[in-house]
Protein backbone atom coordinates (compact mmCIF):
# COMPACT_ATOMS: atom_id res chain seq x y z
CA UNK A 1 0.00 0.00 0.00
CA UNK A 2 1.17 3.47 -0.89
CA UNK A 3 0.41 5.91 1.89
CA UNK A 4 1.10 3.53 4.70
CA UNK A 5 3.22 5.90 6.79
CA UNK A 6 0.44 8.38 7.24
CA UNK A 7 -2.02 5.60 7.88
CA UNK A 8 0.20 3.91 10.44
CA UNK A 9 0.26 7.18 12.29
CA UNK A 10 -3.50 7.20 12.44
CA UNK A 11 -3.57 3.62 13.58
CA UNK A 12 -1.07 4.45 16.29
CA UNK A 13 -3.38 7.10 17.67
CA UNK A 14 -6.17 4.62 17.62
CA UNK A 15 -4.27 2.39 20.08
CA UNK A 16 -4.20 5.18 22.67
CA UNK A 17 -7.84 6.04 22.64
CA UNK A 18 -10.45 5.08 20.12
CA UNK A 19 -12.18 7.74 18.09
CA UNK A 20 -15.90 7.53 17.64
CA UNK A 21 -18.92 9.08 16.00
CA UNK A 22 -22.08 9.86 17.98
CA UNK A 23 -25.60 10.45 16.80
CA UNK A 24 -27.52 12.12 19.59
CA UNK A 25 -31.29 12.19 19.39
CA UNK A 26 -31.32 12.58 15.61
CA UNK A 27 -34.72 13.20 14.09
CA UNK A 28 -36.04 14.30 10.70
CA UNK A 29 -39.27 16.02 9.86
CA UNK A 30 -40.22 15.99 6.23
CA UNK A 31 -43.17 17.92 4.80
CA UNK A 32 -44.74 18.23 8.22
CA UNK A 33 -44.44 14.53 9.05
CA UNK A 34 -41.95 12.71 11.21
CA UNK A 35 -39.64 10.70 8.99
CA UNK A 36 -37.23 9.69 11.74
CA UNK A 37 -37.05 10.27 15.47
CA UNK A 38 -34.86 9.70 18.50
CA UNK A 39 -32.00 7.90 16.85
CA UNK A 40 -29.11 7.51 19.28
CA UNK A 41 -26.08 5.70 18.02
CA UNK A 42 -22.47 5.52 19.09
CA UNK A 43 -20.04 3.95 16.62
CA UNK A 44 -16.36 3.41 17.25
CA UNK A 45 -13.68 3.72 14.64
CA UNK A 46 -12.69 0.45 13.05
CA UNK A 47 -16.20 -0.83 13.54
CA UNK A 48 -18.72 -1.78 10.88
CA UNK A 49 -22.33 -1.20 11.83
CA UNK A 50 -25.03 -2.66 9.63
CA UNK A 51 -28.32 -0.78 9.47
CA UNK A 52 -31.15 -3.15 8.62
CA UNK A 53 -34.88 -2.75 8.44
CA UNK A 54 -37.80 -3.10 6.05
CA UNK A 55 -38.32 -0.75 3.10
CA UNK A 56 -39.61 2.64 4.17
CA UNK A 57 -38.40 2.16 7.74
CA UNK A 58 -36.19 5.25 7.57
CA UNK A 59 -32.76 3.82 6.70
CA UNK A 60 -32.16 6.02 3.69
CA UNK A 61 -33.58 9.03 5.53
CA UNK A 62 -31.00 8.44 8.24
CA UNK A 63 -28.18 8.31 5.71
CA UNK A 64 -29.38 11.46 3.99
CA UNK A 65 -29.59 13.24 7.34
CA UNK A 66 -26.07 12.16 8.26
CA UNK A 67 -24.79 13.41 4.92
CA UNK A 68 -26.47 16.74 5.50
CA UNK A 69 -28.62 16.36 2.41
CA UNK A 70 -31.73 16.93 4.52
CA UNK A 71 -31.84 18.93 7.74
CA UNK A 72 -32.23 17.10 11.02
CA UNK A 73 -32.68 17.78 14.72
CA UNK A 74 -30.29 16.37 17.30
CA UNK A 75 -26.54 16.22 16.87
CA UNK A 76 -23.94 14.37 14.85
CA UNK A 77 -20.51 14.58 16.43
CA UNK A 78 -17.11 13.13 15.83
CA UNK A 79 -14.73 12.61 18.73
CA UNK A 80 -11.16 12.41 17.43
CA UNK A 81 -8.68 9.94 18.88
CA UNK A 82 -6.30 10.92 21.66
CA UNK A 83 -6.97 13.17 24.62
CA UNK A 84 -8.64 15.88 22.64
CA UNK A 85 -12.13 16.73 23.79
CA UNK A 86 -12.77 18.55 20.60
CA UNK A 87 -15.90 17.41 18.82
CA UNK A 88 -17.00 18.27 15.31
CA UNK A 89 -18.96 16.92 12.40
CA UNK A 90 -17.17 13.90 10.97
CA UNK A 91 -15.69 13.91 7.50
CA UNK A 92 -18.07 11.70 5.56
CA UNK A 93 -17.48 9.39 2.62
CA UNK A 94 -20.44 8.05 0.68
CA UNK A 95 -20.81 5.09 -1.66
CA UNK A 96 -24.13 5.30 -3.50
CA UNK A 97 -26.18 2.38 -4.72
CA UNK A 98 -25.11 1.14 -8.10
CA UNK A 99 -25.28 4.28 -10.20
CA UNK A 100 -26.53 4.50 -13.75
CA UNK A 101 -23.77 5.67 -16.03
CA UNK A 102 -24.23 6.49 -19.67
CA UNK A 103 -22.26 3.72 -21.40
CA UNK A 104 -21.14 6.03 -24.17
CA UNK A 105 -19.77 8.70 -21.83
CA UNK A 106 -16.17 9.48 -22.77
CA UNK A 107 -15.08 9.44 -19.16
CA UNK A 108 -12.34 7.37 -17.56
CA UNK A 109 -11.93 6.42 -13.92
CA UNK A 110 -9.21 9.05 -13.65
CA UNK A 111 -11.60 11.67 -15.10
CA UNK A 112 -14.11 10.74 -12.42
CA UNK A 113 -11.51 11.22 -9.68
CA UNK A 114 -10.45 14.57 -11.11
CA UNK A 115 -14.06 15.71 -11.48
CA UNK A 116 -14.99 14.85 -7.90
CA UNK A 117 -11.86 15.89 -6.11
CA UNK A 118 -10.36 18.80 -8.02
CA UNK A 119 -11.27 21.84 -10.03
CA UNK A 120 -8.55 21.13 -12.58
CA UNK A 121 -10.55 21.09 -15.86
CA UNK A 122 -10.92 17.61 -17.27
CA UNK A 123 -10.15 18.84 -20.77
CA UNK A 124 -6.59 19.81 -19.85
CA UNK A 125 -3.65 17.49 -19.28
CA UNK A 126 -3.56 16.25 -15.70
CA UNK A 127 -0.79 17.20 -13.32
CA UNK A 128 1.02 14.18 -11.87
CA UNK A 129 -0.44 14.86 -8.43
CA UNK A 130 -4.02 14.16 -9.51
CA UNK A 131 -3.00 10.89 -11.14
CA UNK A 132 -0.98 9.82 -8.10
CA UNK A 133 -3.81 10.52 -5.69
CA UNK A 134 -6.32 8.62 -7.79
CA UNK A 135 -3.89 5.73 -8.08
CA UNK A 136 -3.39 5.68 -4.34
CA UNK A 137 -7.12 5.57 -3.60
CA UNK A 138 -7.72 2.88 -6.23
CA UNK A 139 -4.88 0.87 -4.79
CA UNK A 140 -6.77 0.65 -1.48
CA UNK A 141 -9.57 -1.26 -3.19
CA UNK A 142 -7.30 -3.33 -5.43
CA UNK A 143 -8.33 -1.39 -8.51
CA UNK A 144 -5.17 0.45 -9.55
CA UNK A 145 -5.27 -1.13 -12.99
CA UNK A 146 -8.67 0.48 -13.67
CA UNK A 147 -7.34 4.04 -13.71
CA UNK A 148 -7.39 4.62 -17.46
CA UNK A 149 -10.47 2.51 -18.14
CA UNK A 150 -13.66 3.97 -19.53
CA UNK A 151 -16.44 4.09 -16.90
CA UNK A 152 -19.00 2.61 -19.24
CA UNK A 153 -16.87 -0.50 -19.74
CA UNK A 154 -16.48 -1.42 -16.09
CA UNK A 155 -18.33 -4.39 -14.67
CA UNK A 156 -20.69 -3.71 -11.77
CA UNK A 157 -18.21 -4.99 -9.23
CA UNK A 158 -15.43 -2.85 -10.68
CA UNK A 159 -17.65 0.24 -10.73
CA UNK A 160 -18.63 -0.37 -7.12
CA UNK A 161 -14.98 -0.60 -6.12
CA UNK A 162 -14.21 2.62 -7.99
CA UNK A 163 -17.04 4.36 -6.13
CA UNK A 164 -15.65 3.01 -2.87
CA UNK A 165 -12.19 4.33 -3.74
CA UNK A 166 -13.76 7.68 -4.58
CA UNK A 167 -15.36 7.81 -1.13
CA UNK A 168 -11.94 7.22 0.44
CA UNK A 169 -10.50 10.42 -1.01
CA UNK A 170 -10.06 12.27 1.25
CA UNK A 171 -9.98 9.49 3.88
CA UNK A 172 -13.29 9.91 5.75
CA UNK A 173 -14.00 9.40 9.43
CA UNK A 174 -17.40 7.96 8.73
CA UNK A 175 -18.04 5.88 5.62
CA UNK A 176 -21.62 5.39 4.47
CA UNK A 177 -22.46 2.46 2.21
CA UNK A 178 -25.97 2.63 0.81
CA UNK A 179 -27.04 -0.80 -0.42
CA UNK A 180 -23.70 -1.06 -2.21
CA UNK A 181 -24.36 -4.63 -3.23
CA UNK A 182 -27.71 -4.32 -4.95
CA UNK A 183 -27.25 -6.20 -8.17
CA UNK A 184 -24.00 -7.95 -7.36
CA UNK A 185 -23.99 -11.73 -7.36
CA UNK A 186 -22.66 -13.81 -4.46
CA UNK A 187 -19.04 -13.83 -5.58
CA UNK A 188 -19.11 -10.10 -6.23
CA UNK A 189 -20.68 -9.51 -2.83
CA UNK A 190 -18.03 -11.59 -1.10
CA UNK A 191 -15.24 -9.73 -2.85
CA UNK A 192 -16.68 -6.34 -2.00
CA UNK A 193 -17.19 -7.29 1.64
CA UNK A 194 -13.66 -8.57 1.89
CA UNK A 195 -12.32 -5.20 0.72
CA UNK A 196 -14.60 -3.20 3.01
CA UNK A 197 -13.76 -5.46 5.91
CA UNK A 198 -10.04 -4.90 5.35
CA UNK A 199 -10.46 -1.14 5.06
CA UNK A 200 -12.31 -0.79 8.34
CA UNK A 201 -9.22 -1.93 10.22
CA UNK A 202 -6.56 -0.59 7.88
CA UNK A 203 -7.97 2.95 7.73
CA UNK A 204 -9.59 2.83 11.17
CA UNK A 205 -12.96 3.86 9.75
CA UNK A 206 -16.42 3.87 11.20
CA UNK A 207 -18.59 2.28 8.58
CA UNK A 208 -22.37 2.41 8.36
CA UNK A 209 -23.73 -0.15 5.93
CA UNK A 210 -27.36 -0.01 4.86
CA UNK A 211 -28.48 -3.33 3.51
CA UNK A 212 -31.59 -5.34 2.92
CA UNK A 213 -29.56 -8.53 2.69
CA UNK A 214 -29.75 -9.56 6.32
CA UNK A 215 -27.47 -12.58 6.16
CA UNK A 216 -24.72 -10.90 4.18
CA UNK A 217 -24.85 -7.92 6.54
CA UNK A 218 -24.75 -10.14 9.61
CA UNK A 219 -21.71 -12.00 8.36
CA UNK A 220 -19.56 -8.89 8.07
CA UNK A 221 -20.90 -6.46 10.69
CA UNK A 222 -19.46 -5.93 14.16
CA UNK A 223 -22.75 -4.47 15.22
CA UNK A 224 -26.22 -4.41 13.87
CA UNK A 225 -28.93 -1.81 14.22
CA UNK A 226 -32.55 -2.50 13.45
CA UNK A 227 -34.63 0.42 12.25
CA UNK A 228 -38.38 0.25 11.88
CA UNK A 229 -41.32 2.62 12.27
CA UNK A 230 -39.01 5.59 11.80
CA UNK A 231 -36.81 4.95 14.79
CA UNK A 232 -33.96 2.80 16.02
CA UNK A 233 -35.42 -0.25 17.78
CA UNK A 234 -32.50 -2.59 18.51
CA UNK A 235 -28.76 -2.18 18.71
CA UNK A 236 -26.38 -5.05 19.39
CA UNK A 237 -24.25 -7.76 17.89
CA UNK A 238 -25.68 -9.34 14.75
CA UNK A 239 -26.52 -12.48 16.73
CA UNK A 240 -28.42 -10.53 19.35
CA UNK A 241 -30.37 -8.49 16.84
CA UNK A 242 -31.25 -11.55 14.78
CA UNK A 243 -32.80 -13.13 17.88
CA UNK A 244 -35.30 -10.32 18.31
CA UNK A 245 -38.88 -11.26 17.60
CA UNK A 246 -39.61 -8.01 15.69
CA UNK A 247 -36.60 -8.48 13.45
CA UNK A 248 -37.50 -12.06 12.65
CA UNK A 249 -41.03 -10.95 11.87
CA UNK A 250 -40.01 -8.00 9.73
CA UNK A 251 -37.71 -10.13 7.60
CA UNK A 252 -39.86 -13.26 7.63
CA UNK A 253 -36.97 -15.28 9.06
CA UNK A 254 -39.25 -17.95 10.50
CA UNK A 255 -41.16 -18.41 7.26
CA UNK A 256 -40.61 -21.32 4.96
CA UNK A 257 -37.63 -20.54 2.72
CA UNK A 258 -38.72 -19.54 -0.76
CA UNK A 259 -36.54 -19.38 -3.79
CA UNK A 260 -35.32 -15.86 -4.21
CA UNK A 261 -37.01 -13.91 -6.96
CA UNK A 262 -34.14 -11.50 -6.80
CA UNK A 263 -31.83 -12.07 -9.72
CA UNK A 264 -28.47 -10.48 -9.92
CA UNK A 265 -28.22 -8.41 -13.07
CA UNK A 266 -24.50 -7.90 -12.83
CA UNK A 267 -21.83 -10.51 -13.27
CA UNK A 268 -18.94 -10.74 -10.85
CA UNK A 269 -15.90 -8.97 -12.12
CA UNK A 270 -13.48 -11.74 -12.88
CA UNK A 271 -11.02 -9.50 -14.68
CA UNK A 272 -11.71 -11.14 -18.02
CA UNK A 273 -13.99 -8.38 -19.17
CA UNK A 274 -12.24 -5.98 -21.47
Amino acid sequence: MQNSNQLDKRRGLHEERACCTRLIDVGVRFEGKTALQQVNLHVHCGELTAIVGPNGAGKTTLLRAIMGEISHSGELLFQPAGDSDQQKRPQIGYVPQRIEIDKSAPLTVLDLFAATGTRWPLWLWYPKKIRDEAYEALNLVGGAELIERNLGRLSCGQLQRVLLALALKPVPQLLLLDEPLAGLDHAGTAQFYEIVSGLRRYLDLSILLVSHDLNAAASIADRMVFINDKTLLFDGTPAEVLKQEDVRLAFGLDDEPVSSAFKSYCAVDDGTKE
Partner: protein, 275 residues
Amino acid sequence: MSYWSWLIGSLPFEWAQFSFMQNALLAILLVSPLFALIGTLVISNQMAFFSEAIGHATLTGIAIGALLGLPDPTWSMIIFCVLLALAVTVLRRYGTVSADTLIGLVMSFAVALGVVLLSRDGGFSKYSGFLIGDLLTITPTEIGRLAVILLVVGVLWVLYFNHFVLSFLNKSLARSRGLNVWATEAFFSSIVALVVAVSIPWVGLLVVNSLLIIPAATARNLAVNSRQYVLIAFCLSLVASITGLVLSFYWGTATGATVVLVAMMLYALSFLLKR
Protein backbone atom coordinates in the same frame (compact mmCIF):
# COMPACT_ATOMS: atom_id res chain seq x y z
CA MET B 1 -8.49 43.72 -37.98
CA SER B 2 -6.25 45.19 -40.67
CA TYR B 3 -3.52 42.75 -39.77
CA TRP B 4 -6.03 39.90 -40.07
CA SER B 5 -7.20 41.14 -43.51
CA TRP B 6 -3.63 41.35 -44.69
CA LEU B 7 -2.84 37.89 -43.36
CA ILE B 8 -5.85 36.16 -44.91
CA GLY B 9 -5.77 38.32 -48.03
CA SER B 10 -2.27 37.08 -48.74
CA LEU B 11 -3.56 33.52 -49.04
CA PRO B 12 -3.56 32.38 -52.68
CA PHE B 13 -7.33 31.75 -52.78
CA GLU B 14 -10.05 33.68 -54.53
CA TRP B 15 -12.37 33.67 -51.50
CA ALA B 16 -9.66 35.01 -49.22
CA GLN B 17 -9.58 38.35 -51.10
CA PHE B 18 -13.06 39.46 -49.99
CA SER B 19 -13.36 41.33 -46.72
CA PHE B 20 -16.72 39.70 -45.91
CA MET B 21 -15.05 36.29 -46.17
CA GLN B 22 -12.17 37.43 -43.98
CA ASN B 23 -14.67 38.60 -41.37
CA ALA B 24 -16.69 35.41 -41.67
CA LEU B 25 -13.58 33.28 -41.23
CA LEU B 26 -12.58 35.14 -38.10
CA ALA B 27 -16.11 34.81 -36.73
CA ILE B 28 -16.08 31.09 -37.42
CA LEU B 29 -12.75 30.68 -35.66
CA LEU B 30 -14.41 32.18 -32.58
CA VAL B 31 -17.76 30.41 -32.83
CA SER B 32 -16.44 26.88 -33.44
CA PRO B 33 -14.53 26.52 -30.16
CA LEU B 34 -17.46 28.08 -28.35
CA PHE B 35 -19.87 25.56 -29.82
CA ALA B 36 -17.50 22.66 -29.23
CA LEU B 37 -17.02 23.52 -25.56
CA ILE B 38 -20.74 23.86 -24.96
CA GLY B 39 -21.85 21.08 -27.27
CA THR B 40 -19.86 18.40 -25.44
CA LEU B 41 -21.73 19.13 -22.23
CA VAL B 42 -25.07 19.52 -24.00
CA ILE B 43 -24.65 15.98 -25.31
CA SER B 44 -23.41 14.65 -21.96
CA ASN B 45 -26.49 15.97 -20.21
CA GLN B 46 -28.86 14.85 -23.00
CA MET B 47 -29.96 18.41 -23.63
CA ALA B 48 -29.93 18.34 -27.45
CA PHE B 49 -33.67 18.90 -27.58
CA PHE B 50 -33.42 21.68 -25.01
CA SER B 51 -30.88 23.62 -27.06
CA GLU B 52 -32.98 23.06 -30.19
CA ALA B 53 -35.99 24.51 -28.37
CA ILE B 54 -34.01 27.53 -27.20
CA GLY B 55 -32.89 28.15 -30.78
CA HIS B 56 -36.48 28.15 -32.02
CA ALA B 57 -37.68 30.21 -29.10
CA THR B 58 -35.48 33.10 -30.21
CA LEU B 59 -38.36 33.93 -32.59
CA THR B 60 -40.26 35.31 -29.64
CA GLY B 61 -37.15 37.17 -28.48
CA ILE B 62 -36.90 38.79 -31.92
CA ALA B 63 -40.60 39.65 -31.83
CA ILE B 64 -40.31 41.29 -28.43
CA GLY B 65 -37.40 43.35 -29.73
CA ALA B 66 -39.48 44.40 -32.74
CA LEU B 67 -42.46 45.32 -30.55
CA LEU B 68 -40.26 47.45 -28.32
CA GLY B 69 -38.88 49.14 -31.43
CA LEU B 70 -35.28 48.06 -30.78
CA PRO B 71 -33.04 48.46 -33.82
CA ASP B 72 -31.14 45.28 -32.91
CA PRO B 73 -33.05 42.43 -31.24
CA THR B 74 -29.92 40.82 -29.72
CA TRP B 75 -30.63 41.90 -26.16
CA SER B 76 -34.30 40.96 -26.21
CA MET B 77 -33.29 37.56 -27.63
CA ILE B 78 -30.68 36.98 -24.95
CA ILE B 79 -32.94 38.03 -22.08
CA PHE B 80 -35.91 36.04 -23.34
CA CYS B 81 -33.86 32.89 -24.00
CA VAL B 82 -32.10 32.97 -20.64
CA LEU B 83 -35.40 33.46 -18.80
CA LEU B 84 -36.95 30.64 -20.81
CA ALA B 85 -33.99 28.37 -20.00
CA LEU B 86 -34.37 29.10 -16.29
CA ALA B 87 -38.12 28.52 -16.51
CA VAL B 88 -37.56 25.12 -18.13
CA THR B 89 -35.05 24.19 -15.42
CA VAL B 90 -37.47 25.14 -12.66
CA LEU B 91 -40.39 23.34 -14.33
CA ARG B 92 -38.23 20.23 -14.78
CA ARG B 93 -37.56 20.27 -11.08
CA TYR B 94 -41.07 20.88 -9.80
CA GLY B 95 -43.24 19.81 -12.69
CA THR B 96 -44.73 16.38 -13.19
CA VAL B 97 -44.42 16.05 -16.97
CA SER B 98 -41.37 14.39 -18.50
CA ALA B 99 -38.54 16.61 -19.69
CA ASP B 100 -39.06 16.09 -23.41
CA THR B 101 -42.80 16.75 -23.20
CA LEU B 102 -42.13 19.89 -21.20
CA ILE B 103 -39.52 21.16 -23.63
CA GLY B 104 -41.79 20.31 -26.57
CA LEU B 105 -44.60 22.34 -25.02
CA VAL B 106 -42.40 25.30 -24.21
CA MET B 107 -40.93 25.30 -27.72
CA SER B 108 -44.38 25.11 -29.35
CA PHE B 109 -45.53 28.05 -27.30
CA ALA B 110 -42.46 30.20 -27.96
CA VAL B 111 -42.42 29.47 -31.70
CA ALA B 112 -46.15 30.12 -32.12
CA LEU B 113 -46.01 33.32 -30.11
CA GLY B 114 -43.00 34.51 -32.09
CA VAL B 115 -44.62 33.74 -35.46
CA VAL B 116 -47.92 35.39 -34.46
CA LEU B 117 -46.17 38.54 -33.27
CA LEU B 118 -43.82 38.75 -36.25
CA SER B 119 -46.50 38.03 -38.87
CA ARG B 120 -48.75 40.92 -37.90
CA ASP B 121 -49.75 42.72 -41.08
CA GLY B 122 -48.14 39.96 -43.13
CA GLY B 123 -44.64 41.13 -42.29
CA PHE B 124 -42.92 37.85 -41.44
CA SER B 125 -40.72 37.77 -44.55
CA LYS B 126 -38.79 40.72 -43.11
CA TYR B 127 -37.49 38.37 -40.43
CA SER B 128 -36.90 35.24 -42.47
CA GLY B 129 -33.17 36.06 -42.46
CA PHE B 130 -33.09 34.83 -38.88
CA LEU B 131 -34.18 31.39 -40.02
CA ILE B 132 -31.02 30.64 -42.02
CA GLY B 133 -28.73 33.40 -40.81
CA ASP B 134 -26.07 35.21 -42.77
CA LEU B 135 -22.53 34.90 -41.57
CA LEU B 136 -21.18 36.96 -44.46
CA THR B 137 -22.72 40.17 -43.13
CA ILE B 138 -21.00 40.02 -39.77
CA THR B 139 -19.23 43.26 -38.80
CA PRO B 140 -15.99 43.73 -36.82
CA THR B 141 -17.97 45.07 -33.82
CA GLU B 142 -20.06 41.92 -33.77
CA ILE B 143 -16.94 39.81 -34.07
CA GLY B 144 -15.60 41.66 -31.03
CA ARG B 145 -18.76 40.74 -29.14
CA LEU B 146 -18.27 37.06 -30.04
CA ALA B 147 -14.67 37.25 -28.84
CA VAL B 148 -15.79 38.58 -25.45
CA ILE B 149 -18.35 35.79 -25.09
CA LEU B 150 -15.77 33.17 -26.05
CA LEU B 151 -13.43 34.56 -23.42
CA VAL B 152 -16.13 34.51 -20.72
CA VAL B 153 -17.24 30.97 -21.58
CA GLY B 154 -13.60 29.86 -21.68
CA VAL B 155 -13.04 31.15 -18.15
CA LEU B 156 -16.27 29.59 -16.90
CA TRP B 157 -15.28 26.29 -18.48
CA VAL B 158 -11.99 26.35 -16.63
CA LEU B 159 -13.75 27.07 -13.34
CA TYR B 160 -16.86 24.92 -13.62
CA PHE B 161 -16.33 22.19 -16.22
CA ASN B 162 -15.80 19.53 -13.55
CA HIS B 163 -18.93 20.60 -11.69
CA PHE B 164 -20.97 20.32 -14.86
CA VAL B 165 -19.55 16.90 -15.71
CA LEU B 166 -20.19 15.55 -12.24
CA SER B 167 -23.76 16.79 -11.88
CA PHE B 168 -24.63 15.55 -15.35
CA LEU B 169 -23.05 12.15 -14.69
CA ASN B 170 -24.96 11.34 -11.53
CA LYS B 171 -27.00 13.67 -9.36
CA SER B 172 -26.74 11.81 -6.05
CA LEU B 173 -22.99 11.38 -6.40
CA ALA B 174 -22.68 15.09 -7.19
CA ARG B 175 -24.81 16.01 -4.16
CA SER B 176 -22.71 13.85 -1.89
CA ARG B 177 -19.77 15.96 -3.04
CA GLY B 178 -21.52 19.11 -1.91
CA LEU B 179 -22.62 20.32 -5.34
CA ASN B 180 -25.86 22.17 -5.76
CA VAL B 181 -27.05 20.18 -8.75
CA TRP B 182 -30.00 22.38 -9.64
CA ALA B 183 -28.05 25.60 -9.46
CA THR B 184 -25.38 24.02 -11.66
CA GLU B 185 -27.96 22.96 -14.20
CA ALA B 186 -29.68 26.37 -14.21
CA PHE B 187 -26.31 28.05 -14.67
CA PHE B 188 -25.40 25.76 -17.56
CA SER B 189 -28.80 26.18 -19.25
CA SER B 190 -28.42 29.96 -19.09
CA ILE B 191 -25.03 29.84 -20.77
CA VAL B 192 -26.40 27.61 -23.52
CA ALA B 193 -29.29 30.03 -24.02
CA LEU B 194 -26.94 32.99 -24.13
CA VAL B 195 -24.64 31.49 -26.73
CA VAL B 196 -27.50 30.22 -28.90
CA ALA B 197 -29.25 33.59 -28.82
CA VAL B 198 -26.11 35.49 -29.73
CA SER B 199 -25.32 33.19 -32.67
CA ILE B 200 -28.76 33.20 -34.28
CA PRO B 201 -28.27 36.17 -36.67
CA TRP B 202 -25.16 34.55 -38.13
CA VAL B 203 -26.00 30.88 -38.32
CA GLY B 204 -29.79 30.94 -38.31
CA LEU B 205 -32.19 29.34 -35.88
CA LEU B 206 -32.84 26.34 -38.11
CA VAL B 207 -29.26 25.08 -37.93
CA VAL B 208 -27.79 26.58 -34.75
CA ASN B 209 -28.42 23.43 -32.78
CA SER B 210 -26.76 21.25 -35.41
CA LEU B 211 -23.56 23.22 -35.07
CA LEU B 212 -23.76 22.76 -31.34
CA ILE B 213 -24.36 19.03 -31.17
CA ILE B 214 -22.91 17.38 -34.30
CA PRO B 215 -19.19 17.94 -33.53
CA ALA B 216 -19.73 16.75 -29.95
CA ALA B 217 -21.75 13.72 -31.04
CA THR B 218 -18.99 12.87 -33.53
CA ALA B 219 -16.30 13.24 -30.87
CA ARG B 220 -18.27 10.93 -28.60
CA ASN B 221 -17.92 8.21 -31.19
CA LEU B 222 -14.15 8.55 -31.14
CA ALA B 223 -13.09 9.68 -27.66
CA VAL B 224 -12.22 7.50 -24.68
CA ASN B 225 -11.58 10.19 -22.08
CA SER B 226 -12.78 13.73 -21.42
CA ARG B 227 -9.71 15.40 -22.82
CA GLN B 228 -10.04 13.66 -26.17
CA TYR B 229 -13.76 14.40 -26.17
CA VAL B 230 -13.35 18.18 -25.95
CA LEU B 231 -10.26 18.25 -28.17
CA ILE B 232 -11.81 16.18 -30.96
CA ALA B 233 -15.08 18.14 -30.86
CA PHE B 234 -13.04 21.34 -31.08
CA CYS B 235 -11.00 20.20 -34.09
CA LEU B 236 -14.01 18.76 -35.93
CA SER B 237 -15.96 21.94 -35.35
CA LEU B 238 -13.12 23.98 -36.85
CA VAL B 239 -12.64 21.70 -39.85
CA ALA B 240 -16.36 21.55 -40.64
CA SER B 241 -16.81 25.29 -40.24
CA ILE B 242 -13.91 26.35 -42.44
CA THR B 243 -14.71 23.76 -45.12
CA GLY B 244 -18.38 24.74 -45.03
CA LEU B 245 -17.59 28.43 -45.27
CA VAL B 246 -15.36 28.01 -48.31
CA LEU B 247 -17.82 25.64 -50.03
CA SER B 248 -20.71 28.02 -49.42
CA PHE B 249 -18.69 30.76 -51.09
CA TYR B 250 -18.22 28.76 -54.30
CA TRP B 251 -21.69 27.22 -54.28
CA GLY B 252 -23.50 30.41 -53.32
CA THR B 253 -25.32 28.60 -50.51
CA ALA B 254 -26.20 29.55 -46.92
CA THR B 255 -23.07 29.15 -44.80
CA GLY B 256 -24.66 27.67 -41.67
CA ALA B 257 -26.43 24.87 -43.49
CA THR B 258 -23.36 24.08 -45.60
CA VAL B 259 -21.28 23.74 -42.45
CA VAL B 260 -23.90 21.39 -41.03
CA LEU B 261 -23.71 19.13 -44.09
CA VAL B 262 -19.92 18.91 -43.80
CA ALA B 263 -20.24 18.17 -40.07
CA MET B 264 -22.78 15.43 -40.78
CA MET B 265 -20.38 13.82 -43.25
CA LEU B 266 -17.74 13.76 -40.56
CA TYR B 267 -20.26 12.24 -38.18
CA ALA B 268 -21.03 9.49 -40.69
CA LEU B 269 -17.29 8.78 -41.01
CA SER B 270 -16.86 8.59 -37.24
CA PHE B 271 -19.82 6.24 -37.05
CA LEU B 272 -18.14 3.90 -39.52
CA LEU B 273 -14.81 4.18 -37.68
CA LYS B 274 -16.47 3.23 -34.41
CA ARG B 275 -17.82 0.00 -35.91
